[in-house]
C-alpha cells in the first residue's frame, strides 16, 4: 500500500501525463512488552518491564514522493519522523525540533544515479542493519551496536554522538542495474565559520560535523556482500586545541540457501583525540566486533538467531572489556503489513564491560543480562 496512497488522486487529476509521479504517506507503529534483568557481580539483580517501541522495525511516520521529469530524470523528496509510540513521542534527534530525524532529503536522479541533499543515513549504517538477522532493532541486535552506543563508564570518550545518521550532507548513489554492484558516497558539511587570522570572534567548535563516508557492494542471486567506511569529526575545541575524529569501517555478507539465510558481519570503530599544539599525547579508543547469524522461513513466519561479540581496546583499564550476545527470535506474519514477534537475548560481560541489554541499567558492575521483546509491528 505504501507506494500508492495519494498517488491515485494525483494521477486522476493529472490525467494521463506522469504515471511515476506520486506522494505517499507511510509509516510503522511497532510496540512491544519488553523485560530485562541484569545480574551484577555481587549477585544482586535489577529488572524492569516496559511498553517499548520499535522492537522489530523502527516506528516511523513519513511523507515521500517522486516526480517524473521526463528523459529519465526524476526529482523526489523524503521526510521521515521517528515515533516513540509507546508514549506519543515523535522525532528524537539531538537537535530540538528535529521532527524528521530519520531522514529529510531532496533528490535528483537519472541514468547517472542519484544526488541526494539533506539528513540521511551514514553509509556505514547499512551493513549493520542489512547483515544482522535482528537488524538494528530490539534486544537481539549485534552487541557491538550496544557497546558503541553505551560506553560511558569505561573510558571518558564516546565513539559517536550518532552512529546512524548525518545532517547537512550531499550524497551520491550509483544507479541500479550495474549487474548487481551498488555503492554510495556521502559528504557532510561542518558549516563552521573559518577565519583567516587570530581567534574566532565567537564559537570554539571549528570542525565538528564534517563527515565523509562510502559503501560498495554486490548483490546477485543468493549473495549479498558489502564494505563501508566513514570518517568524521564529532568534537572540536579551538581553545582546548583538540579534534575528536572517529573512523568506522565494516564488512558484511549474506547467502540465501532458501531454507536458511546465513549472515556475517565484522565492524571496527576507532576514536582519536588529536591535540593540535601537540603538548598533550593523542588519545585513541577502539571497539571491534562481529556477528554470525541465520534466519529460517517457516510457513508465514521467520526464525532468527545470532551470536555477536564486541571488544574494547586501547582503554585505560587493565584488561580489554568484552561482551558476547546470544539472540533467538520468531516473527509471525499475520499479513505483509502486520506481524507478531518474540525475541529473547542474553549478554555476557567480561573484564568490566558495563553493558546491559536495551533499557537495562549499566551502572554498577553488570555481569550478565537477559531480556525479551514480545510485540506487534504494523506498517502502512
Amino acid at each position: 500500500m505504501k507506494k500508492s496512497l495519494v498517488a491515485l488522486a494525483a494521477l486522476a487529476v493529472a490525467g494521463v501525463a506522469s504515471a511515476q509521479s506520486s506522494v505517499t504517506l507511510f509509516g510503522i507503529v511497532d510496540a512491544s512488552i519488553s523485560g530485562t534483568t541484569t545480574k551484577f557481580a555481587d549477585g544482586s539483580k535489577a529488572s524492569s518491564t516496559r511498553l517499548d517501541n520499535s522492537g522489530y522495525n523502527s516506528s516511523r511516520l513519513g511523507f515521500r514522493g517522486t516526480e517524473d521529469l521526463g528523459g529519465g530524470l526524476a526529482a523526489s523528496f523524503w521526510l521521515e519522523a521517528g515515533l516513540s509510540n509507546d508514549a506519543g513521542g515523535a522525532g528524537s534527534g539531538s537537535v530540538t525540533g528535529q521532527l524528521f530525524n530519520r531522514r529529510s532529503t531532496v533528490s535528483l536522479s537519472g541514468g547517472f544515479g542519484e544526488i541526494r541533499l539533506g539528513r540521511d543515513y551514514k553509509p556505514t549504517f547499512w551493513n549493520n542493519t542489512v547483515f544482522d538477522p535482528f537488524g538494528t532493532n530490539g534486544q537481539g541486535t549485534n552487541v557491538l551496536q550496544n557497546v558503541v552506543g553505551t560506553t560511558t563508564g569505561v573510558g571518558a570518550l564516546a565513539f559517536d554522538s550518532d552512529n546512524v545518521r548525518q545532517s547537512n550532507t550531499v550524497g551520491y548513489f550509483l544507479p541500479p542495474n550495474l549487474g548487481g554492484f551498488y555503492g554510495q558516497v556521502q559528504y557532510g558539511f561542518d558549516e563552521k565559520t573559518k577565519y583567516t587570522d587570530g581567534l574566532p570572534p565567537a564559537g570554539a567548535d571549528t570542525r565538528s560535523g564534517d563527515y565523509v563516508g562510502g559503501r560498495i557492494g554486490y548483490a546477485n542471486g543468493p549473495l549479498d556482500v558489502a564494505l563501508s567506511a566513514g570518517q568524521g569529526t564529532i568534537g572540536s575545541s579551538y581553545y582546548a586545541g583538540y579534534n575528536d575524529e572517529n573512523f568506522t569501517w565494516n564488512a558484511g555478507i549474506s547467502w540465501d540457501f532458501g531454507f536458511m539465510k546465513l549472515f556475517g558481519e565484522y565492524g571496527s570503530y576507532e576514536l582519536k583525540r588529536t591535540y593540535d599544539p601537540s603538548y598533550l599525547a593523542d588519545v585513541k579508543r577502539t571497539a571491534w566486533g562481529g556477528l554470525v547469524g541465520a534466519t529460517f522461513p517457516v510457513g508465514p513466519g521467520l526464525i532468527r538467531a545470532s551470536y555477536s561479540y564486541a571488544r574494547l581496546e586501547d582503554f585505560p583499564v587493565a584488561n580489554d572489556p568484552s561482551a558476547q550476545k546470544f539472540a533467538l527470535g520468531y516473527v509471525h506474519n499475520l499479513s505483509k503489513r502486520t506481524a507478531l514477534y518474540a525475541t529473547v537475548a542474553y549478554v555476557d560481560n567480561k573484564n568490566g564491560m558495563p553493558l546491559g541489554l536495551n533499557g537495562a541499567v549499566t551502572a554498577g558492575t553488570p555481569d550478565s543480562s537477559y531480556g525479551y521483546d514480545f510485540g506487534i509491528r504494523h506498517s502502512f
Copy 2:
C-alpha cells in the same frame, strides 16, 4: 469524510481485496474569541480577552488506519496530535517532543475485543466527557475538572499530572454487540528499574507511572450509563520514602428524550501520600463533585446547559473550599463538519477556592468569574 480520505486510493490499488483497509488523515481546527473576568474579594477585577483554541472540540491532527487481516481479525494504528492552532503549536504533552500527545496506539482486534498498546485515554476520562453537555472543552465544562486541574494554592499536592491520558499502557476493550454492554481495562507500566538489594544506583523514582483502571457501561435506546475507576502512582521518592497514589472514580448517566437529553455525573478524586517507613503520618486530599445538564436540539443547532459543583476535603484549611458553575451555550451547525458556537459561564468560589475560569488568573482570592467563548469548529 473522516473515514475515507486515503482509503479510496488504497482500494483502487488493492483492487477488490480488503474493503476495510484504510489510512485516514483527520483533524479538527477550533478557534474562539474568549474573554474572562475574575472578581476578587477586595472588589478588584482581572480580565483578559484572547484568541483561544478548542472551545467546543479539541483541535487535533491525526493519522489512523485499519487493516483487515481476514478471519475477523484486524490491525490498526492511531496517531493523534493536539493543536494549539491560535499560535501554531502542536502536541502539548509533558514530555518534550510528545507530538502525538492525544493518542498513539497500535491495536489487534477481533471477536474477542481489542488489545491496544501505547498512549491512550484513561478509562476514567470518558465519563467526564460523555456525560457533560460541554464535554471537557471550553468555559462550560464541569467545574470539578477545573478544580482538579488547578488546585495549587490550597494544599501542596496536585491530584494528577494528567487526568486524561496515560503513556506506556496495555488496554483491553470488550467487543461491540454485547447487547449494549461496553467496557475496558487499562494497565500502565511504570518502566522503573527494580533492585533486589540496597539503594538504587541511579534514580530515586521507583514507581511513578504505574496505573490500572477500568470502565463498564450500558448503552441502549435512550439510556447510557457507565461507571469507571482508576488508581495510579503519580509521584515516588525512594530517598524521601513516599509514594503519591491517586484513586479516581466516577459514574455518569444520560437519557435522551428526543426533544431534550439529560445528563448527570458524580466524580471523586483522592490523593494519598504514603510514607513507607511510617515515620511520618500519611497525607490525604479529596475532591468530589457532580454535574447535571441538558441539551436541546433546535433545528440545525443545539442548546447546552449545565450546573456543576466541586468541593475539596481533607485539605489543611479551616473550611472546605468549594465552587459551583453555571454554563449556557449554543452550537449552530453550518454542516456536519463546521459549527459556530457560543458559551457563557459563571463560577462562584467559597471558602478560599482559588478558581478562575479557563485562562483566568487564580492568584489572589478570586471570588467569582465569568467568561465566554465565541468560536468556530471545523473538522476534516
Copy 3:
C-alpha cells in the same frame, strides 16, 4: 497537484455533492549548497560553506482544506510547518512546540470576503515578498530585511522579534473580484490579564503581543501596486514602566512588460520605547530602505536581479550606518514543481553597519560580504 491530493478520495466518497470540498497535503523541500565570505575592516576574512534550506522558496509541509457550506459560504483550515530539511528540523517558531509556525488558521469565507483566525502572516510582510525578485529567501533578498533581522550590535533594541507572522490574530480579507482591488486587516490579541487596581499579582508584561495592521492594493493587467502598515507592542514591562512599540509601513509596485518584469519597494521600520511614568526620555530607532529589481524569462528559466539599500537612523552612533546589496540569480525550471537555482550576492557596509549575508558572522566590523546559493527546489 497541490489542490487535489486527497480531494479525489473525498469526492469519490461524497458522491456528487460538494465539488469544492478537499483536504490537501502539500509542501516544498528546497536545499542548497551555500557559501558566504565576509571581509572585515582589518583585511581578515571569515567564510563558511553549508548545506542550507529554503534558498529559493521556504521549505514547508502543510495540510489544508476547504468545505463548501452552500450558499457561497465555505469553511477552510490551513496548517503549515516550516522545514529545516538540511538537518531534519520542522517548525521554528519562538514558542516551543510551534510545529505549524508558518500558518495555522481556520476561516469562514463568502461573498463578504474571508474571516481568518489563528497564526498568520502580518499584512506588511506581503509587499516584502511580492515586490522582490528574490522574494524573502536566500542571499539575494532585500538588504532591508537582513538589517531588520540582525541589528544587534549597533543599538540595543531589535525592531521586531518576528517581522513576518503574528499569533492569536483575527484577520479580514476583501473578497476577490473587486475589479483588481485587494485588501486585508489583522488584529492580534496580546492575551495579557488587565487589572483594575495596583500591581499585577503575576507577570510584568502587560501588553506585548498586541498588533494591528492592514494592506490595500490593486492588481490589473501588468500592474500590481500595494501599500501596507502595521503597529504592535513587542516588549512591555510593568515594573520598569515602558512599552516597546514598532510601526512598520511599506509600499511596492511591479509592472510586467512580458520580456521583463520591473519591481520597486520602499519600507520603513520604527521602534519607540515609551516610558509610562515619563521619568526617562523616550527612545526611538528607525530603519528604512528600498529596492529596485527585475526578472527576465528565458525559455524555461528566469533571470533575477536586484539592487537594495538600507539605512539606520536615530541610533546612538556618529554617522548613520547603511548597507547596499547587489544580487543576481537564475532559476531553471525542470518542471512546474522542480527547479534548479543559483544566486550570487554582494553586500557593502558603511559607517559600522554590522551586516553579513545570510549565515555569515556579523561580529567584528564586517566591511563587505559575498555569497552564493546553488540548489534545488522541489514542491508537491
